[in-house]
């Protein structure tokens, strides 16, 4: 187990490095000049050139990359072109929001998917099954932004039970403000989870293991709970890990719709403004988040199921 963990950690580092490199290259191929963005439309060519020199943008791409990596190893994530503060402080002030959103969304996803999948598996080919599957297909085909606006219209504007957007204040306020966004974000993966869990549970239900339990006379609900649900735990954990990138990615859109100041909206505006240091740092943090969650779920899965051969 230890050597597996060590190997995975090493590979995680490599992956994060790969993400950083790819982001760097991508940003520098794109047309668009951050100096011009900051200085505005009437900027003189000399002012633009001076700013580019200050930011080191006139060196060749390999040199810039080297400089960036050098700074990175010293723990320096650079300074935002637009905000004139260190990217580290920008990220620190926003990471909590995104982490909270992702965590609550993951929680919602599990809380919604497991019961639905169980119900569908138990009533296979029945009305409930079709309804659940239909619902998950609808979820798959619903654009998050559209659904989010709709939720705001209903729950915030008309019913006034939840805030229109923003982060809210105080612990209770923060939670309330997360309800609609987290729910919207969870829809990114609920359909996938429900479909896969359902199939897995059907297989378990059809297995000899459960046939024995039934033969023993255990009630259906008991069977469901003690055997099926427990067996669902492992795949759920794994699936969550596999799909966390998608969930994190969906926060980019959700944060915009609900006006949350998280890493997703920071990243998007940084890309648009070509705020290179912020793009680099944020992708690094988000990518690291994905990798870490993946690693965590894989290790958790390994602990839960000894059959899994860790390679």
């Amino acid at each position: 187990m230890a050597s597996y963990t060590a190997r995975r950690l090493l590979s995680a580092v490599l992956v994060i490095f790969g993400v950083t490199l790819a982001t760097f290259l991508l940003m520098h191929i794109e047309p668009g000049d951050p100096a011009r963005s900051v200085l505005g439309i009437r900027a003189s060519p000399s002012a633009v050139a001076a700013l580019r020199r200050e930011w080191g943008l006139n060196s060749s791409v390999p040199v810039q990359l080297g400089r960036f990596l050098g700074q990175l190893f010293q723990g320096n994530l650079g300074q935002s072109y637009i905000y004139h503060v260190s990217t580290a402080s920008l990220i620190a002030s926003r990471v909590g929001q995104t982490a909270a959103l992702v965590a609550v969304a993951a929680l919602f996803a599990v809380v919604i998917s497991v019961p639905l999948a169980t119900l569908a598996a138990a009533r296979k080919e029945g009305v409930a099954d079709h309804l659940v599957r239909g619902f998950s297909v609808v979820g798959l085909a619903l654009p998050a932004f559209w659904f989010g606006i709709l939720l705001i219209e209903i729950f915030a504007v008309h019913l006034h039970v939840l805030p229109v957007g923003g982060a809210g204040s105080g612990f209770g306020g923060h939670l309330k403000a997360l309800v609609l966004p987290a729910f919207t974000a969870s829809l990114a993966i609920v359909p996938i989870l429900v479909r896969s869990l359902r199939v897995g549970m059907i297989e378990v239900l059809d297995s000899e293991f459960v046939a024995v339990a039934r033969a023993k006379g255990l009630g259906e609900v008991r069977v469901l709970f003690s055997h099926v649900a427990r067996n669902a735990l492992l795949p759920t954990v794994t699936l969550l890990g596999l799909n966390i990138a998608f969930l994190i990615g969906s926060t980019v859109v959700v944060e915009q719709v609900f006006n949350l100041n998280g890493l997703g909206s920071l990243l998007l505006s940084a890309i648009l403004n070509r705020d290179f240091p912020v793009v680099q740092a944020t992708t690094l943090v988000l990518g690291a988040g994905v990798v870490i969650v993946n690693l965590g779920t894989d290790l958790l899965a390994a602990r839960l199921d000894p059959r899994i051969r860790l390679r």
Binding site: A141, F145, W146, A245, D305
Partner: protein, 293 residues
């Protein structure tokens, strides 16, 4: 559809030789999901193909003094913010989005399946290398990578197809690789190997038929995901070139008028959902038809 368990775990059913065609035909005609899915999908394709014929108006014809008109006898689904007939645009958008959905998944499907098969079968350096690349790509939040690529390549259809080509193949590769790993260990393949069959033959006749079904089933839901992603890109202003009708831009343009002319944003969304339903049913149906048991 085989369950998605951890890569190392063997599925509960052993892989077998592919079935004869008659088995497929029997299953196809007896699977309600497959029939429903096929009918809906074919229906959608027909709408897409016949859009120029069945649309009451040209989709781009503007009437700037008759904007945001509600449902009427002249315009069954109303008019949008430039006075264009919503129904005609909806029908033409079926063309745009189905086409884009199908086009965008072609490369990922073939490339991903090929790479996954080779990585799973040969293992070793090839496998490690591929998996590293896959992990890097997966670690990117989806939209970030897609947006970044589109900025580089340019917006519009080409940009979208290239962006998905880079990002989407990994799902197929992972799934196919997992199954290939298992199939590789099966008695059947071992027998073929010891029988001296060349590798490509083994892959083509014995490995792929078992592994590709997963790709095919995933293909149908992938098209849905791609269409939804295209819709979201349209929302972000990175969709198809205006004024091409597309469900995504129709929703984003109509979003401003949600409280008044709600049809503009809702109805294209319904169209996306129906398409999703059709392809999902088709996918589930195919899973039923193609399953090894």
């Amino acid at each position: 559809m085989t369950s998605v368990l951890s890569p190392g775990q063997a599925p509960l059913t052993a892989t077998k030789q592919p079935h004869s065609r008659s088995v497929f035909i029997y299953r196809a005609t007896h699977s309600k999901t497959f029939i429903a899915g096929s009918v809906l999908t074919v229906g959608l394709i027909l709408v897409a193909v016949l859009a120029p014929v069945i649309s009451p108006y040209s989709p781009n014809h503007q009437d700037l003094y008759d904007i945001l008109g509600g449902f009427s006898s002249k315009h069954l689904l109303g008019t949008d913010e430039l006075g264009r007939d919503e129904l005609s645009r909806l029908l033409w958008a079926t063309r745009t989005d189905l086409r884009l959905g199908f086009l965008a998944v072609i490369f990922p499907f073939f490339f991903g399946t090929a790479v996954g098969t080779l990585a799973g079968y040969y293992g070793g350096w090839l496998d490690s290398g591929v998996m590293r690349v896959v992990e890097v790509l997966i670690a990117f939040p989806f939209y970030v990578l897609v947006i970044g690529l589109i900025f580089v390549v340019g917006t519009g259809t080409t940009g979208i197809i290239v962006a998905f080509a880079v990002v989407d193949w990994i799902i197929y590769a992972r799934a196919v690789r997992s199954t290939t790993l298992v199939v590789r260990e099966s008695d059947y393949v071992a027998a073929a190997k010891s029988g001296g069959l060349p590798t490509w033959r083994i892959l083509w006749r014995h490995v792929l038929p078992n592994t590709v079904t997963q790709s095919v089933v995933y293909l149908t839901s992938d098209i849905v995901l791609v269409i939804v992603a295209v819709v979201t890109l349209g929302y972000l202003g990175l969709g198809v070139q205006p004024p091409t009708p597309d469900w995504g831009t129709m929703i984003s343009e109509g979003q401003e008028f949600l409280t008044t002319t709600w049809g503009l944003a809702t109805i294209p969304g319904v169209a996306v959902v129906i398409t999703g339903l059709a392809l999902s049913l088709l996918g589930d149906g195919l899973a039923d038809v193609l399953r090894p048991r």
